[in-house]
Symmetry: C2
Subunit: 419 residues, 2 copies
C-alpha cells in the first residue's frame, strides 16, 4: 500500500508558495502507486499537531491547478517555531503519532530556515521512534536568505514588484518634481537581508536611468552620506527615489523604524522606516516628499509575478516529491544557476543539516562602495529572477484566485493542546 503524504506551508506566505503546493500535489497525483492521499496541514504545522488535516484529494484537478496562479497560502500558514527537541519533545512525538495514525510516510515542509530545522528534526526523531518518515523541505521565502539554493521561490516575484513599482513611482515623481514632490521613499521588506531593497536598483532599466538611493540592512545607516547623495541626485536630476529596507539600522544597532512590538518568533515587528527617512530629508534639505510602505502588497502581488519565479516554485514542489520517490530524506531541492546570460538553471539538492538555521546575506560585492546602491554583479544576479510575466486569469476585471474547499480528514487521536 502506498504511504500518504503530509504537506504544510510555514511562515510568511508569498505570491508563489501555492505554486509549490500545486507542484507537490499534481506530482503526487501522478504517482498514485507510491503516494496515497496528500494531506495538508490546516494553518501549517499546527494542523499536524492538532490533527486538522485537509484532504486534498477532495479538491478537483482544476482547483489544484488554480493554486499555481493564486497568491497566499491556500491551506493557511502559521508563525509557529517548534522548540528544540530537548525543550519540547512532546510536540515532535505528537507529530510522529499523527503521521503514524494517518499512515503518512512523506513530510513536505514548505518554508524558510526555521522550517528546514523543524523538517530535519522530524526526520531524525521519526527514525528513533521506529516510524521512519522521509522529510523533504521545499524552499520558500521572499527574504531570499536560504543557503545553497541560488535563490528562493517567492523572492523573484517580490523583486519584480519592487523593481516595477519603484520605476513607476519614479516616473511619477519625475513628472511632479518641478513644482511639487522631489522625493519618493518606498519602504520594503527584508529584516536581515537587503535582497528585496536591492531589487529597487532595477528601476533603472530599458534605457531610463532613475536616481535611486538604496538603504540596506547590511550597511550601517550613515545619515550624512545619505543626505549628501540625495541632495546630489536632486540637484542633478531634479528628484530622487529612496528604497529603504525595513531592516535598516542606525550605527548603534537600532532599527530606523523600531515600533517595539515583536512577532511570535521574537523578531521585532517593523514598519515606518519610510516616514522616518522622508521627514529626515524634509528637515535637512527641505524637499517635499511622498512615501509608501508596500508591506503585504509586495509579497502578495501575484498579478505581477515573475514567470521564472512561478516556474521555479512549481519545480521545487515537483522536485520535492521526486526526491521522496527516489528514497531521499532530510533534503531540500535547490535551484542551481548554470549561467546568467543567457539564464539557465537546473535542479539540485541540499542536505537539511547544511540548510537549517543558516542565513544567506547579500554578498558585499553586490553593494556599491558607497553602500547606497547595487553593483553590476548584483544586477546580473537579479535580472534573470524577474524574467517573464505570468498573469493570472481575470474575470470581470478581477483575478480568478481560488479558495479551496479545505475539507478535513476525520480525526483518529485525542485532543492536543498547542501552547
Amino acid at each position: 500500500m502506498p504511504k500518504n503524504a503530509f504537506y504544510a506551508q510555514s511562515g510568511g506566505v508569498t505570491a508563489v508558495i501555492n505554486a509549490s503546493a500545486c507542484g507537490v500535489i499534481e506530482t503526487a497525483r501522478q504517482h498514485g502507486d507510491k503516494i496515497g492521499t496528500v494531506y495538508a496541514g490546516q494553518n501549517g504545522i499546527i494542523g499536524a499537531l492538532t490533527e486538522d488535516l485537509i484532504d486534498t484529494s477532495k479538491e478537483s484537478a482544476q482547483a489544484i491547478a488554480a493554486l499555481r496562479h493564486t497568491p497566499s497560502g491556500g491551506f493557511g500558514s502559521c508563525r509557529y517555531k517548534m522548540k528544540s527537541l530537548e525543550d519540547n519533545k512532546r510536540e515532535y512525538e505528537r507529530l510522529i503519532e499523527v503521521f503514524k495514525a494517518h499512515d503518512i510516510g512523506y513530510f513536505f515542509y514548505n518554508g524558510g530556515g526555521d522550517s528546514a530545522d523543524t523538517c530535519l528534526k522530524v526526520s531524525q526523531l521519526s527514525e528513533k521512534m521506529g516510524f521512519p518518515i522521509q522529510a523533504i523541505h521545499i524552499p520558500k521565502t521572499v527574504d531570499n536568505d536560504l543557503p545553497i539554493t541560488d535563490n528562493c521561490p517567492g523572492f523573484g516575484s517580490v523583486a519584480k514588484y519592487i523593481a516595477v513599482s519603484t520605476m513607476e513611482a519614479s516616473f511619477d515623481v519625475r513628472s511632479m518634481a518641478k513644482t511639487s514632490t522631489k522625493i519618493f521613499v518606498l519602504e520594503v521588506m527584508g529584516r536581515h537581508a537587503g535582497w528585496i531593497a536591492a531589487a529597487g536598483g532595477l528601476a533603472s532599466s530599458n534605457g531610463t536611468e532613475i536616481p535611486t538611493v538604496i538603504l540596506f540592512p547590511e550597511v550601517e545607516f550613515d545619515q550624512e552620506k545619505f543626505l549628501a547623495k540625495v541632495q546630489a541626485n536632486v540637484e542633478e536630476h531634479g528628484y530622487c527615489t529612496i528604497v529603504v529596507s525595513e531592516g535598516t539600522k542606525w550605527p548603534d544597532g537600532r532599527f530606523l523604524a523600531e515600533q517595539g512590538t515583536r512577532d511570535d518568533f521574537g523578531h521585532a515587528q517593523l514598519g515606518g522606516a519610510a516616514p522616518v527617512v522622508a521627514n529626515m530629508i524634509k528637515d535637512a534639505l527641505g524637499y517635499k516628499y511622498h512615501w509608501a510602505v508596500a508591506d503585504y502588497l509586495q509579497r502578495a502581488a501575484r498579478h505581477l509575478a515573475s514567470k521564472t519565479d512561478v516556474e521555479q516554485a512549481y519545480a521545487m514542489g515537483k522536485a520535492g516529491v521526486e526526491l521522496a520517490l527516489e528514497g531521499k530524506n532530510s533534503v531540500m531541492p535547490a535551484i542551481v544557476r548554470e549561467s546568467s546570460t543567457p539564464y539557465k538553471w537546473s535542479i539540485g539538492s541540499a542536505q537539511l543539516s547544511d540548510v537549517a538555521n543558516v542565513e544567506k546575506m547579500m554578498p558585499m560585492e553586490f553593494i556599491s562602495e558607497d553602500g547606497l546602491d547595487i553593483t553590476e554583479a548584483c544586477r546580473e544576479y537579479l535580472v534573470p529572477l524577474i524574467q517573464g510575466e505570468d498573469y493570472p486569469p481575470y474575470k470581470d476585471g478581477m483575478p480568478e484566485y481560488v479558495t479551496l474547499k479545505n475539507e478535513k480528514a476525520g480525526k483518529k487521536l485525542g485532543e492536543f493542546e498547542v501552547k
Copy 2:
C-alpha cells in the same frame, strides 16, 4: 496655414494621462491640414508661461505610441493654480502672448477641476484680447471628482489596483490569521472624495468574500462602530481588512492622520491614517496587524491598468482634438454611460462653465447604511471601470516605458518670472 496646438498636463499625474496625450498628438497628426505642430508645456502650464515649449513633432510615431502604455506625465506636470483674472491678469496675458508668438490656436489642458477653470479663463481672455483660442479641457483625475462626465480617466486604473491589491493582501492575511496577523490596513488616496477607497470593496469578487471595512472621507469616523465591525469580522472570519481613505476625519473635522504617532526618536510620523487605525485596533482589541500605504504606487501602476480606463483616456484626448476641429471652444469631452450591464459608453461633451471648480462627491446611495461599506449600486457603477487588462510590453522583466526626447522649440519672447 494651420494653427499650432498647445497641450499641457496638470496636477497629479496618473497611469493613463499619457494615453490622453497620445490621443491628442496622434489625432492632431492625422489632421495636418488643420493643426500644425503640437507643442507641449514643459512641466505643465508653467512651460507656457516661461515659453518652455516641447516640440512634439521631433518625437517618432513609435515614441508617441508608447505614451499610451507609459504612466506619469511624459512632458512633466505641475501643481500650479493660476490665480483669478483680477489677481493675476499678467499671467493670463502672458499665456496669450506666448500662444500668439507661436501661432497657437488650440489649447488642450489635461487635468482636474482647477485646470478646467484655467482653461475657461484662457478662452474668455483670449477672445477679449483679440487672439481667440479654442480652449479644450481633457478630463483627468484619479479622484474621479469631475462633474458631468460619468467617470474620470485615471480613476479606473487606480480602482483596479486598489481592488486587486486589497484582494491579494486579504488572501495573505487570511493565511496568516490563525497564529499571527489578523488585521490588514491599506491607506489609499482621496482627500475629499471616497471613490478610491470604495474600490477596496471590489476585493470581494469572483466568489470570494473578503471581510472588509471601508473608511470614507464622506463619513464622520465613528470609532466605536468601526471597532465593533472589525471585531465582528475577526470573530466570524478570523481576520479583517480595512481600507482607509487618507481623507477620513474625526467628528471634529481633524484628519485621522493628524492624530499622529511618534517613533522611538520622538519624531512625529506624518501622513499615516493607516498606522493610526492599526494602532487603534491593537490597543482596543489586541489583534496583530500589518499596514500599507500605497501612495504613488496606486496612481502610477500602469502595469495593472484597466483596459477600459486606457481606452477612455485615449478617447478623451482624441475627442478633444475632434471637438476643436469642429470649432468648439470652452468645452470638455465627457464619458457618457449608456448602460452598466453590459457596459456601454459613448462620448459627450460639457461646457467648461459647468465643470470648473465643481467637485463630485460619492453619492450617499453608494455608501452602506452603517457607513463602512459600499452598496450594490456602487459596485454596479465601479465594476465596468476596472474591466480588462492592458499590459505594457516588457523587456528583460521590466516594462518598456518611454522617456521622450522633449526637445524644446526656440524662444521668441523675453524672460518671464513665475511667482
